[in-house]
Symmetry: C2
Subunit: 576 residues, 2 copies
């Protein structure tokens, strides 16, 4: 293996060799800002995943370092994100109760499996599987997940019990406890939420007015969650609100990330296999779209297969250091980018900052109310909720609308795993259904041209003894019989028929079932004294047909173009 091929798998060798003092300066400033930003986010997503708060910080250290070595994005920040944390809670919640040792153990196994899947997809260059998650399905899934996440945090905001993986479970779990709402918790949480919404909408214009530049205003506004945490922690500590029933984070171990060895018990692996696959693919799709959006701004290139390797390494790192599944997150990456991160080294500095925080700052969050973290999560995820995809899909095509609405509905009522799977399956089934009943048009010549179009849409010239059919689909098993039926029906409507020309301009592939149908068509037409011709057969299809005996048995010819076919057949008719 020469240096070039090593470098392919280690992008750090590329940017590392050209690292200079100016990059260092940018990176260290970005790291400082991002470290402050990441602390509340990490704590909150650990809560969402059902894990102790320190797990969120642990899950941000090793993954960031490993992604810095293997990833291709300059600005991507890897760590816990909302949707993946929710999916982790759903998957691990099926195996153990939140707060038990079994729960945390299952979470590291899930991270390891997810890392292994990502790594395998990357090494075998299978990144294209992510394309099967269509844009509408992803949009629908994110919207529905946002609602689920917000609903799942209501219990922390209200200070009551009520867990669940679907909207129905959550609502019916909250319902009987509504009488037990803790007013102090609710006050704290609502204040934090109102403050955070105001920071998003009102703070930035205010900062501009007092003379801050737009970039600085942006960054200050992003420290909102930190301010909310500091303020509510101080209030809770000062007024001893813990004694009044406000749930607080409590004792957090003061240590570097521990070394964890994920269990690979066969039944655990079996139960987590599907969730791990879904988390990997969803996480990859989220991460790559963030990475590509940021890279496009600086005209940098993202290699999807190398990204899989980077994310795989990050997740394996999370698994070995007491974390849970991670991916490249939108909000943390944008902060990183806006703060001026030049290279992945910014991530490495952030990791150092977080490690220091894990050792020195954890005692300070003892009095942090869980309601504040819930408020942080709710405000963050509600910005993901966007139903406009339903309207856009409806306007464009019923097929896309079906996929989006199935995804949203099933995610809400049956949970994240069923929802995203159903979305993909619906998209594929709708596609198969459509291709199983292809559009088949009778075509004629556009007067004065050599171009042939649908007789129903254009005023074209046709011949009584020639039937020209354009098949608007590749021919394969679901539509093989359909073509046969349609062609014979059209042929039966033309009594003086001598020749059928199948215009293959839109036939991109042909399989054995379709070949058998073509053979049947040829035989049936021959028995009726009609010849079968093909025109505009594309190279790859022609190559395929030559591998069978069909072209020898076909009663007619293959013409280069539809026009050549019509000219030749008309000339013969005149001669006869």
């Amino acid at each position: 293996m020469n240096l070039h091929s090593i470098a392919r798998y280690l992008p750090i060798l590329d940017w590392g060799r050209r690292y200079d003092r100016s990059s260092f300066g940018g990176d260290i400033v970005a790291a400082l800002i991002v470290t402050i930003m990441l602390i509340p986010q990490s704590l909150a997503y650990a809560l969402l995943a059902g894990l102790p708060p320190e797990a969120g910080i642990y899950a941000s250290i090793a993954p960031i370092l490993l992604y810095a070595v293997f990833g291709t994005s300059r600005a991507l920040a890897v760590g816990p994100v909302a949707v993946v944390s929710l999916m982790t809670a759903a998957a691990v919640g099926n195996i153990a109760a939140s707060g038990t040792a079994g729960y945390a153990a299952a979470a590291v196994t899930l991270a390891l499996m997810s890392g292994a899947i990502l790594l395998a997809l990357g090494l075998f260059r299978l990144g294209f599987v992510a394309n099967f998650l269509s844009h509408p399905v992803i949009a629908g899934f994110i919207t529905a997940s946002g609602i689920l996440i917000a609903a799942s945090q209501l219990r922390h905001l209200l200070g009551i019990q009520g867990e669940g993986n679907t909207l129905i479970e959550i609502v019916s779990a909250l319902w009987p406890h509504l009488g037990e709402i803790n007013p102090v918790t609710l006050c704290l949480g609502l204040s934090a939420m109102v403050f955070l919404f105001w920071v998003r909408k009102g703070l930035k214009p205010l900062l501009w007015r007092i003379g801050l530049g737009p970039r600085m205003a942006d960054l200050v506004a992003k420290t909102g969650p930190v301010l909310a945490i500091v303020a509510t922690t101080l209030v809770t500590w000062g007024l001893d609100l813990g004694a009044q029933g406000v749930a607080i984070v409590g004792e957090v171990p003061q240590s570097l990330p521990p070394l964890t060895l994920p269990s690979l018990r066969p039944e655990l692996v079996r139960e987590l296999a599907l969730p791990a696959l879904l988390i990997s693919i969803i996480g990859f799709v989220e991460s790559i779209s963030v990475a590509q959006t940021l890279a496009a701004k600086k005209r940098q290139r993202i290699d999807p297969d190398q990204e899989l390797i980077g994310l795989g390494a990050a997740n394996i790192g999370a698994a070995l250091t007491g974390g849970f599944p991670v991916t490249g997150g939108f909000s943390r990456s944008v902060v990183n980018y806006d703060a001026g991160a030049e290279t992945p080294a910014a991530g490495a500095f952030t990791a150092v900052g977080l490690a220091l925080a894990a050792v020195f700052l954890t005692p300070l969050i003892h009095y942090l109310p869980k309601a504040t973290l819930a408020a942080t999560i709710i405000v963050a995820v509600l910005s993901l909720v966007d139903f406009s995809i339903l309207r856009r899909a409806w306007a464009f095509s019923r097929a896309d609308f079906a996929a989006v609405s199935v995804t949203i509905l099933l995610t809400l009522v049956m949970g994240v795993e069923v929802g995203v799977t159903a979305g993909v399956v619906t998209s594929v089934l709708v596609h198969l259904y459509k291709t199983s009943r292809p559009h088949i048009a009778v075509v004629g010549r556009m007067p004065g041209s050599e171009h042939y179009r649908n007789v129903l849409r254009h005023d074209v010239e046709t011949q009584p003894q020639v039937l020209s059919l354009r098949v608007d689909e590749s021919l394969y098993f679901p539509n093989a019989r359909f073509l046969e039926d349609q062609l014979m029906r059209h042929a039966a409507e033309k009594p003086g028929l001598r020749d059928v020309v199948l215009m293959f301009a839109a036939v991109n592939d042909i399989d054995l079932s379709a070949l058998e149908s073509l053979e049947a068509i040829n035989t049936r037409l021959r028995d009726a004294g009609v010849r079968l011709h093909l025109s505009e057969v594309k190279g790859p299809v022609m190559d395929r047909l030559k591998r069978s005996h069909f072209l020898d048995e076909m009663t007619g010819e293959v013409f280069l173009s539809q026009h050549a076919a019509i000219c030749a057949l008309s000339a013969r008719e005149t001669a006869a």
Copy 2:
């Protein structure tokens, strides 16, 4: 509802009104021959399904009658068939042990569910779902099933224990018992088998030589199984071979089919749901191909959706009269056809004959050795085994070969349900994979014509400032990003580029994900000072694009043909 629409669901009203004495003569002769033929076949397939022999006869009476009322084929004979019986054994064997009351009860439930599914598919005109079983997958499945069936009957032939649903299970179940082979059973079974093979290959030429007409010789040859049964039963009775350990059919109740009420316990229904669906579809595909083959010979028409209703009714009939899942069988239908059946009334007469046999003939089969039935089955199914599909698929396309070999392999080692499901899933995945990486060709003008073809395959004319790309696939979510990457790569290779023309002749559909990709392409090209045009956009795709804002935002135009695009763009270039 007028008579016409009733007649649509009751084909009997059509042929029944024109029924005359000549048809009656043909039908009654056919019925007599088919009745004799069906007795051994029904007994044998009941054995294969793990049910008592009389169940095979019961499963042939009500279904035949009901199909005669609702079916559209004139010659199809409905009853137990080999593959469906094997699938029944696999499905019911998971629920109860063969020979128990629970086993027979599960079999009638399976028939009822299968009937309900067929009926529903027919009433909602969903017969096209059967098209998703491609020809190669069916051929592979039938071949593998034939091997499984033959293997499953070895134990009866050898007189030992050894059941199983897969080749591995069967072989490892037989292995420890190989020392216990019953030599008398083996002798009887082998003799029957050799005799039956000789009847197939050697008897017909012999009959011709002694002066029988070919049709008569054919029919006599088909009574082979009956002769084998009569001879081995007489030998077993005369020499009292039952006392020497030859397994015999034993006591068979002398009665008309009983009335059975299938259980619909939720857990039973849940366990049988997938098998019932697979049996319905496999049974339908087998039946419809037999029906269509026979109908084509007499230029009659088969209505697939009405066939579903006919088979649904037949299965519900089997469920209510102590039977098990049935479908139109190849061998019995061919006998019926060859024997001169003119209308479905032949089936009704056969049902009467079988009812008489159930009442009067069952005592005669007390001494029938099971080894003879096993021999009948083995000889019948080995004719289904045909590996040539592997060779044909390999020669034609690797995709078809993958589907066939997965089907054969998984059917043999994991059983019928996994095998056929894997075959369908493989076909679909291969299709999706291929369409996710479409062929995209740079095209140029064929000199002296208005026709545009691939620059790599043809000697064509191109312009330096125009890039013409032909996209050989409908644009949808799996290939949306691929198009974007390929187009930008081709564009980057042409420095003087001013215009990109996407030739949409092969784009048959477009979804929201692809639209978003086109918008991204348009934006990226615009930023680079290049205009995007489309040509040869088909009607349905144009309609779809008009439902979005894309055409307003596109920097270029939509041209009717590629030639029109090149002419217009070249003229502008010259003017500039």
